[in-house]
Symmetry: C2
Subunit: 187 residues, 2 copies
DNA sequence: GGAGAAAGGGAGTAATCAGTCACTACTTAC
DNA sequence: GTAAGTAGTGACTGATTACTCCCTTTCTCC
């Protein structure tokens, strides 16, 4: 009786819960977000969330892993068949694609902030390391360029957290105006 | 009777509690740290902590402000009487001084991570903005250089969080090896 | 149609934790 | 000495929260 009760596969629920967790964790961090809020956002009961993920931290790890994976995939797709400066430029553009969704930048920051936990730290090292190595490999650029490039990514994370990415004036604007050429040779 | 009960001024206690809060918040973040642990570390009761700071968030704000202030002071001292590249180089060296105490780097990261709170965000914008403006003003460098410099600072925060500042090999080492020349002209 | 598996949740529980209250002990000024 | 102020805490409390027990409902396959 009543409307059809529309059930989904566990795998699909898992994806939906990770998406909800992503949003909550990105905003409030590992300790600031509550499993209640995540379950509610995902449209499931909180017990079912625990059924599928075991612990809050495991859910956080899943969300963080997801974050690294989609970033890595975005970069891989961008650099496909490219080399050197061309590849670096392509990653730069891909970065701007990520920029449109602040959640990803903030999630990365929250992952770094949660790194006093050994498991989180291990995941972050692996995920971040893969990104750096991809940039090194695909661009073939000298270490200084790679450093500037990666560092600029970290600056973007911070700007997203401070919510000054679209600032119209002052130091945030000056920093962002100087971003156009981050993937080109300077002077 | 008994050993002298050694009392201190409220001002001194305030400083000690901020120091303890700094350590706890830097490691575990605004939501991850407990006022109990902070009070215990500071050697006071938890009620007294609340007496002096009102709320946990106010204590966090005080600790974050302290973090920005000592960083700013370090930079100011370093650039005293210097101009241009010389000033930038001096700040670079001052950065290395901060590097020796990972707590400061991590606290900055935790402050950024807590920025979904409007008060924290306001403080972070102000504090971070002052640092950027000091670097702009003291160095007189072009926007690209300033951006690279500030961005590198953010990268250091992340490296501190991942605990790879002293890595002997792999991508962390390559990134850090490329750090020597961050305050010099390249190629 | 019935048996077994898989999806899903109602109603807890134990612990943690921010914040309060009411009180004691010491210090200073007169 | 005493009054007023300041340093300091033991013992709570109400709310939140991670996590569990056990039950119901739907699907699948014979």
């Amino acid at each position: 009786m009543g409307a059809a009760v529309l059930r989904k596969t566990a795998e699909e629920r898992r994806r939906e819960i990770i998406a909800a967790a992503f949003a909550e964790f990105a905003e409030r961090g590992l300790h600031g977000a509550s499993t209640d809020a995540i379950a509610h956002r995902a449209g499931v009961s909180q017990p079912y969330l625990f059924r599928l993920f075991g612990t809050k931290k495991d859910l956080f790890l899943a969300a963080a892993e997801h974050c690294y994976r989609i970033t890595l995939e975005t970069f891989l797709r961008a650099t496909e068949g490219k080399r050197g400066d061309e590849a670096l430029e392509a990653i730069g553009e891909a970065y701007h694609e990520l920029l449109s969704d602040r959640q990803k930048l903030r999630m990365q920051l929250q992952t770094h902030a949660a790194c006093d936990d050994p498991e989180v730290r291990a995941l972050a090292r692996r995920g971040f390391g893969q990104l750096v190595e991809l940039i090194e490999r695909a661009s073939g650029a000298d270490p200084g360029r790679v450093r500037d490039f990666v560092a600029f990514g970290m600056l973007l994370n911070v700007m997203a957290a401070l919510d000054v990415l679209e600032a119209e004036e002052g130091w945030p604007r000056r920093l962002m105006d100087a971003c156009r050429d981050v993937c080109h040779e300077e002077v």
